[in-house]
């Protein structure tokens, strides 16, 4: 359950960015190789937000796929977790370029605040 401390980091950043405004939504990007379980992230969000400016906000999670670059044929490709073969030349030693992220992308606040 390291998702609790990670969600705490995301919420701290979100509340700081809102600068006193109530949060209506958080958009979070989760890479499949980040080691984060999305259900646990949602659970942590629900547990941590009451009594904060993020209470009642929506958590929008955008899942990405692992992104690789093949050093042999220079193809960039995405794959499911656990199958990292280059679709063009079938090499299996692609270089990981994305899929480990856990990023707060943006927040939504009421326009009038």
């Amino acid at each position: 359950m390291h998702e609790l401390s990670l969600m705490n980091n995301l919420l701290t950043d979100a509340i700081a960015a809102a600068n006193g405004a109530p949060l209506r939504a958080l958009k979070v990007r989760v890479g499949p190789l980040s080691g984060v379980v999305i259900e646990s992230l949602q659970f942590a969000f629900d547990a941590l937000t009451p009594g904060t400016p993020a209470e009642g906000a929506r958590l929008d999670i955008e899942e990405t796929a692992p992104l690789f670059h093949c050093p042999h044929c220079q193809t960039s490709y995405t794959t499911p977790v656990g199958n990292y073969q280059c679709p063009a030349c079938l090499a299996t030693d692609g270089e990981l370029r994305g899929g480990c992220e856990l990023d707060l992308i943006s927040i939504e606040v009421p326009d009038h605040v």
Partner: protein, 256 residues
């Protein structure tokens, strides 16, 4: 306050936000269960999107970079050892520290007890215990503080034995040079497929307890195939701390 990171040691998870929000929540319904947020906060309420683009790992990354700088300044190579509980990390370290004396030290993470550090100190090497309480992994900040207790004279190798767990520790860069994931033959050949993330990030996968392979019917070829599938860039070594088989290749890898 800590000299390195300005934290109020031991934890710097301070919340700058104040909880006395004087903005009013128009909704009076109960958010106790946290589910079903399909209510509209006044459907016509105009919204403003603020770009943030900040990683939840940013703080850990800063501390990991500090650790990396420290390792560089001291001329150390650092290894992060990861596995499920009972895969043989401590036994491997006992033999490894003894072999590398006086050039190796260990930092060891567990939820409770100093047992592993005491066990490792018997090898004659320095060992610093981190007890994480309820936390299921080591993070770079915990390691940063453990480093304060290490005497670096003559030291070349630092081993960080992570909390036994194949999930959470995968997310945390500790500043290490190399990541080693252990898989013992008693765990089953398909473990890499079940926990692909931690294996994917490995520089080396060590198959341990090979002396038990026959007794437990370990399917070696299946295990190798599964590791290669999820960790195509990792090197694979097989060893038994008990019999000493494969230990030379492990020591050679450490030195390389």
């Amino acid at each position: 306050m800590c000299d390195h990171c300005g934290c109020g040691h031991p934890h710097d998870h301070s919340h700058e936000h104040n909880h006395n929000h004087d903005h009013s929540h128009e909704h009076s319904h109960n958010h106790g269960d946290g589910h079903d947020h399909d209510h509209a906060h006044a459907p016509s309420e105009p919204m403003r999107t603020i770009d943030v683009r900040k990683s939840a790992m940013a703080q850990n990354q800063r501390h990991a970079d500090q650790n990396r700088g420290w390792f560089r300044a001291k001329g150390l190579t650092a290894f992060n050892l990861l596995s499920s509980p009972g895969a043989g990390k401590t036994a491997l370290l006992e033999a490894t520290l003894k072999h590398l004396l006086p050039h190796a030290a260990a930092i060891v993470g567990d939820l409770q007890t100093e047992n592993d550090a005491i066990r490792l100190r018997a090898s004659g090497a320095q060992a610093v215990q981190i007890t994480t309480g309820a936390t299921c992994h080591l993070d770079a900040h915990m390691v940063l503080h453990a480093l304060e207790k290490i005497t670096t004279d003559g030291l070349k190798f630092l081993f960080i034995e992570n909390v036994g767990n194949l999930v959470c520790p995968a997310s945390y860069d500790l500043g290490e040079h190399r990541r080693v994931v252990l898989l013992s033959v008693t765990e089953g050949e398909d473990k890499p497929l079940k926990y692909p993330v931690i294996f994917h990030h490995a520089d080396l996968v060590l198959i341990t307890k090979c002396d038990l392979a026959e007794a437990v019917g370990f399917q070696r070829e299946d295990a190798l195939k599964n590791i290669r599938q999820v960790a195509p860039r990792a090197k694979i070594l097989e060893l038994s701390v008990k019999t000493g088989a494969g230990m030379d290749a492990w020591f050679a890898w450490l030195a390389g």
